[in-house]
């Protein structure tokens, strides 16, 4: 490998012959059989370039990747957290609105019921008042009518007595020829009525 490194430095592209010679020489030895990873001749080069390339990558990761990707992830975490907070706030607000609506609805229902109840009571009492008024009026009319009827009946009864007395006066006069005073006739009628009763 040592000579391979050295010979590659010479323009080997145009001259392929040395390469084949090398490969022929490989089995023979002379340090050529050195396993490439263990060829210490190439180590300084590997070390130099790994330090440069890996150092570059490290600086890049530290300066660019971490702030950028870390920032993106941080932003997303914040955004999700704030969105979640907003969502739960809105949910709480919605719950509040719903319960307020329900309370209002219940109150309105209660109010409607009480209004209906009050109106019903009012109507009932009005009805009852009117009914009792009408009943009183009717009762009064009935009472009046009864008084009138009683009066008429009494009058009629009094007339009946009179008629009966006159009739008995006339009957007595016809039968006996004697005249009966009207007062006697009336008292006789009354006596007879009392006996019939």
């Amino acid at each position: 490998m040592a000579t391979a490194l050295a010979q590659e430095a010479t323009p080997s592209l145009a001259v392929p012959i040395p390469q084949t010679q090398e490969e022929v020489q490989v089995p023979i030895g002379e340090g050529e059989s050195l396993f490439p990873p263990f060829d210490a001749e190439a180590w300084p080069s590997h070390l130099l370039w790994i330090v440069i390339s890996f150092g570059l990558l490290y600086i890049f990761v530290k300066r660019v990747v971490v702030p950028r990707v870390g920032g993106i992830l941080e932003d997303r975490r914040d955004r999700i957290a704030s969105d979640r907070g907003e969502a739960s706030r809105l949910a709480r607000e919605t719950d509040g609105v719903i319960s307020a609506y329900e309370a209002e609805l219940a109150a309105a229902r209660q109010k409607a019921y009480s209004i209906a109840q009050a109106r019903r009571d009012e109507i009932k009492s009005e009805l009852a008042a009117k009914q009792s008024e009408t009943e009183a009026e009717l009762n009064k009319k009935i009472a009046d009518a009864e008084v009138q009827i009683a009066a008429r009946r009494d009058a009629a009864l009094a007339d009946v007595d009179e008629i009966a007395a006159q009739a008995s006066q006339a009957i007595v006069e016809q039968l006996t020829g004697m005249s009966l005073s009207s007062d006697d006739a009336l008292s006789a009628v009354r006596k007879a009525e009392a006996g019939n009763a």
Binding site: T20, P37, S45, L47, W49, V61, V65, R79
Partner: protein, 255 residues
């Protein structure tokens, strides 16, 4: 594939380092090689993946932004669950390591692409970064009290030296196990893949009977390819998880 080139049936040839831009400083060769190239390809891809989809900073992510965010949150959750919120200052390191190893492993699955993590120096460097971070951050945060990490609580006095010695050895072996695990997995997987693929080529070159015989290794190649994708992601995950566990020592001295 590379196996068709002369002598290309060698399964180790895929790990060959080729100089692209020769750079020599003093006696040391710092050439820009194909390995270096793929390090930068991996780094560039990670940057593009994290940068392009997130430019809109959309609150509702699209498909690609989702991938970038998932990778980010995956690493962040991993670190948070092992070290707690105190360890989040190491997040850039854990995320860089995870994405770099993952991207290198996955890039290695493309034919002709170099698997950077099959180089032990590379994985050892990454492991040393982790261990040195643990030591430096631990001492900076806790001062000398940080060395309590080697003295587990509840151990009776006489055997403390023995237990502490074991703890120190296990601590020192961490970078080795961390780097060798990743390196060996990637190397062995790619060699196995190439060996079976080479069977297919050499068998089918033998004529009709060979072509029939090549069916089995071909199926194996397909199966191992799928397995290697799994290993690529799994090893990146393992590397990142162990990094988190080790970093926990820097934050909490009692465990």
């Amino acid at each position: 594939m590379a196996v068709k080139e002369g002598g290309g049936l060698d399964p180790v040839k895929q790990f060959e380092v080729k100089e692209l831009i020769p750079i020599q400083i003093g006696d040391i060769n710092f050439a820009f090689t194909n390995v270096s190239l793929f390090m930068f390809v991996a780094v560039a891809l990670v940057m593009l993946l994290m940068l392009l989809p997130t430019s809109g900073r959309a609150n509702v992510p699209g498909r690609w932004q989702n991938i970038a965010e998932m990778a980010y949150e995956f690493a962040a959750n991993m670190l948070r669950s092992t070290t707690g919120p105190d360890g989040m200052k190491f997040f850039p390191l854990v995320f860089s390591l995870f994405m770099f190893v993952l991207m290198c492993n996955l890039l290695g699955m493309f034919p002709y692409f170099y698997t950077v993590t099959s180089q032990i120096v590379v994985t050892f460097f990454l492991a040393m970064v982790v261990i040195l971070t643990v030591i430096i951050a631990g001492i900076r945060q806790h001062g000398l009290a940080w060395f309590q990490v080697f003295v587990p609580s509840g151990v009776p006095g006489p055997i403390i030296p023995l237990v502490s010695a074991i703890e120190v050895i296990s601590f020192l072996s961490r970078p080795i196990s961390l780097s060798v695990r990743l390196f060996a997995n990637m190397l062995a997987g790619h060699i196995m893949l190439k060996v079976f693929a080479a069977f297919v080529v050499s068998l089918s070159a033998m004529g009709a009977l060979g072509v029939v015989g090549a069916i089995l290794p071909l199926g194996m190649t397909v199966a191992i390819t799928a397995l290697e994708f799994l290993v690529s992601a799994l090893q990146a995950y393992v590397f990142a998880v162990l990094t988190c566990i080790y970093l926990n020592d820097a934050v909490h001295t009692h465990h």
